[in-house]
């Protein structure tokens, strides 16, 4: 069980609007899931390196050559609102 306060805090970090009913359900469900996955903490993994990519790629470089991908119109064509060639958003608060 995760407290209501924690659920609201995490939802705020994720910019995710939840109804009161969703907050309540989320507390119970996340609690159960976390309890189940916590078993990885029983392993002693001190000194084991973490894996972020299964092929162990390091930096991948390519020549820095400009080329055209999308036009400005194409890039903006999917936007809910665009003004003067820019993405438009409500007042920044």
């Amino acid at each position: 069980m995760i407290s209501e306060e924690q659920v609201r805090h995490v939802a705020n970090l994720a910019r995710l609007g939840l109804t009161d009913e969703e907050v309540e359900r989320m507390g119970t469900q996340l609690g159960a899931i976390l309890e189940a996955i916590e078993r990885i903490q029983e392993l002693d993994l001190k000194g084991v390196p973490p894996t972020a990519n299964p092929l162990n790629l390091t930096n991948v470089f390519r020549p820095d050559e400009p080329h055209r991908e999308l036009t400005r119109e194409e890039a903006l064509s999917t936007a809910p609102e665009a003004i003067d060639g820019h993405f438009a958003v409500p007042r920044i608060d």
């Binding site: 995760i2 924690q6 659920v7 995490v10 939802a11 970090l13 994720a14 910019r15 995710l16 609007g17 939840l18 109804t19 969703e22 989320m26 469900q29 996340l30 159960a32 899931i33 976390l34 189940a36 996955i37 916590e38 078993r39 990885i40 903490q41 392993l43 993994l45 084991v48 390196p49 973490p50 894996t51 972020a52 990519n53 299964p54 092929l55 790629l57 991948v60 390519r62 991908e69 999308l70 194409e74 890039a75 064509s77 999917t78 936007a79 809910p80 609102e81 993405f87 958003v89 409500p90 007042r91 920044i92 608060d93």
Partner: protein, 483 residues
Amino acid sequence: MAGLLDLSAYELARRIEAGEVSAVEAAEVANDRVEEVEGEVGAFVTVTPELAVERAKRVDKRLRDGEARLWEAVPLAVKDVLSTRGIRTTCGSRILESFEPVYDASALRNFGEDVVMVGKANMDEFAMGSSTENSAYGPTRNPWDLSRVPGGSSGGSAAAVVAGEGWWALGTDTGGSVRQPAAFCGTVGLKPTYGRVSRYGLIAFASSLDQIGPITRDVRDAALLLQAVAGHDPRDSTSANVEVPDYLSALEEGVEGLRVGVVTELMDAEGVEPEVREISARVARELEAAGAEVGEVSLPHAGYGLSAYYIIAPAELSSNLARFDGVRYGLRVPADGVHEMYRKTRGRGFGDEAKRRIMLGTYALSSGYYDAYYAQAQKVRTKIIEDFRGAFTRYDVLLSPTAPTTAFEIGSKVDDPLAMYANDLCTIPANLAGIPAISIPGGLSNGLPVGVQLMGDHFTEPTLLRAAYTAEQAAGFRFELKP
């Protein structure tokens, strides 16, 4: 023309190559079949019959000019997570209900100039789920038994293949999303090595795990479809700069001397049904009878894979899904300030499972919990990779069930996330290690298909496909059109 529906994609391609059938005729057969069964099955979010015929005409012309490749004329279902230029791509989510991408995914560009696409296949929202019930566009039904799920998240792709709504399909696999629905629907599903197929234009779920893969009627079709889409792509820096071999040439060479390890932890895992275990063991015995050396192998950390996955995948997706904020694409719910707009848009646009996993991932990455969850899970991932590395010094191919059970009833697990997650127990380790894995039908349990999984080391798809082809022949499971 109904007879065409009984052919595999490869056989159909050969008929078209020989001039016995045109691409347009094949597209029309697929469209008619969609018309006939789609109301019952619901494999697609969007069907594209006119587009299929129009593109098939161009393929026919290019075939006459000798410019098209063997596979291009065979109608394909495409999971709705792959970007298709000018054609709505929803990811099964309300937040992308009217999103039309401005470019095509590289896998589709590789397939051909004119992809004869039957439609965009239904899926769990943003590929999160194991039943295709988490789609904003309604569930897909399993053509073997319409009261059951087709698996997920590529459930629409698998259902389309077994229903004959197209001859083959592309899905994506992050924790089993190609292999498990393939198993539930009696089809073949291949998750290639991480990086084998470009992820450019694949709308990201968990970037270090996601891989595009074929769902097909048989192993040969899977080899052919992988051939069509694989390859290095400068647009995806994680795509592998490794030459693409000929996947078809070695299929029939048999398994004499091939070392096959049966994975103890996955065979005996909690929740694996006895008949599923028995069918998996039988496939191992059949490989042995065909000349393989079969033994048992242990992956001591495999049992921790599920837990590690349900930290790593939500962590990556909570970050990837941050882009759906009502600014550049998709839904926007109007509000006074930008933060309220983000919250309302995401609150209305995402479904239950997406919200759960965004919360889980955000929590696991948040200050104070990072080391206990995310960092620890990344170390577990290293241990699982080491387990596989050890196993592959002694064995060429590893064998296990694909999923613990056969297809379950629609609605039976949708409110119990932990029961749903347990479906991925056997498939997740391959994603964590980035190795290729394939599910083939091994037989039936109570009239429903059971999938058996084979896994290989990085970039050993030719060996894996050869083993799968041999096992498929031995199991004697013949593809059947349903319903």
